[in-house]
Point group: C2
DNA sequence: GTCCTATCGTCAATAGGGTTGTCTATTCCT
DNA sequence: AGGAATAGACAACCCTATTGACGATAGGAC
């Protein structure tokens, strides 16, 4: 057994992740979003059509304080706006701006493009199997995305 | 086309990486290395039998300053020692201690164990193909491992 | 032998993403 | 009315990383 050293697998998985994410952001930078970084995309996804810092923190598996800082940054970059919830004075709702929605649309398209390129490189059948096998191995843990720091592009 | 949204793939890859690394470190903690964190393991690998901060930085794709800080941390944790190079007064060589070598041996074994568990879960043929496909997609980029922060276990 | 240049380690400032703990304001349920 | 739960803000801190500058050393050209 152990035909291959076991440490290669995590390295390959990480490299795959970084390859997709870095390439997406390289292209995104050329499409009017040079400041967008991976954490921003994930946070935008977590915001959806509108969410509070606490919501975002819960969805991303980080503290509400960390989420609040990220939202603050997104406001600075013009990706979201924040307004008090008229129905609950404790809450502040972050909502994507048109610029933010543009970023989200474009990154979704880029992810699709890169997936298509991977399908071309190894064949659709291989990619489908890779996707299915990974989904089986990690289950729903794939969508609890914390630990994204350092991916600073 | 685009039967699946493209953003799932990077998430699955990241989740796979985290799954392996986190599980390794959970088990490592129970084997006398509660302080070991992912970045340390990678740095230890980069040190090998002995290396300078600059070497480590180059191998890991980070600045020499960042590498020096990590080595400093490894010294604090008792994983390496540092001595001046007798042949070159500019250089300081970091060398794994017995504790450090123990950590490396154990984590290598744990990576192998987890790889075996994955093979059991999806079948050896599937795992081999996953490994081969990823290797083909990312090439040698797998072993330029930066961006490890946040993986703080 | 003596310079010029490249390299090593280090110091300092900065950035970004994360944490815990504490606090006030507000809401909601009893 | 009053107590528990919740949202956001503030502070202090950690970790990993960055760039820029600097003194000390090594080593090749001459």
């Amino acid at each position: 057994m152990a035909a291959r050293p076991g440490f290669e697998l995590p390295l390959l998985l990480l490299a795959g992740f970084r390859e997709i994410v870095d390439e997406t952001h390289r292209r995104l930078a050329a499409l009017g979003h040079p400041e967008a970084r991976p954490a921003h995309g994930f946070a935008m996804q977590a915001i959806g059509v509108g969410a509070t810092a606490t919501d975002v923190g819960r969805r991303l598996g980080v503290s509400k304080q960390a989420a609040a800082k990220t939202i603050e940054r997104l406001v600075e970059l013009g990706y979201v706006t924040q307004e008090p919830d008229p129905a609950d004075a404790r809450r502040k709702i972050a909502t994507p701006t048109e610029h933010g929605r543009d970023m989200l649309r474009r990154s979704a398209a880029l992810f699709d493009d890169i997936q298509a390129e991977w399908a071309e490189a190894i064949g659709v059948a291989h990619l489908d199997r890779l996707h299915a096998d990974l989904a089986r191995l990690v289950g729903d843990r794939a969508f609890q995305i914390d630990g994204l720091s350092g991916l600073t592009d």
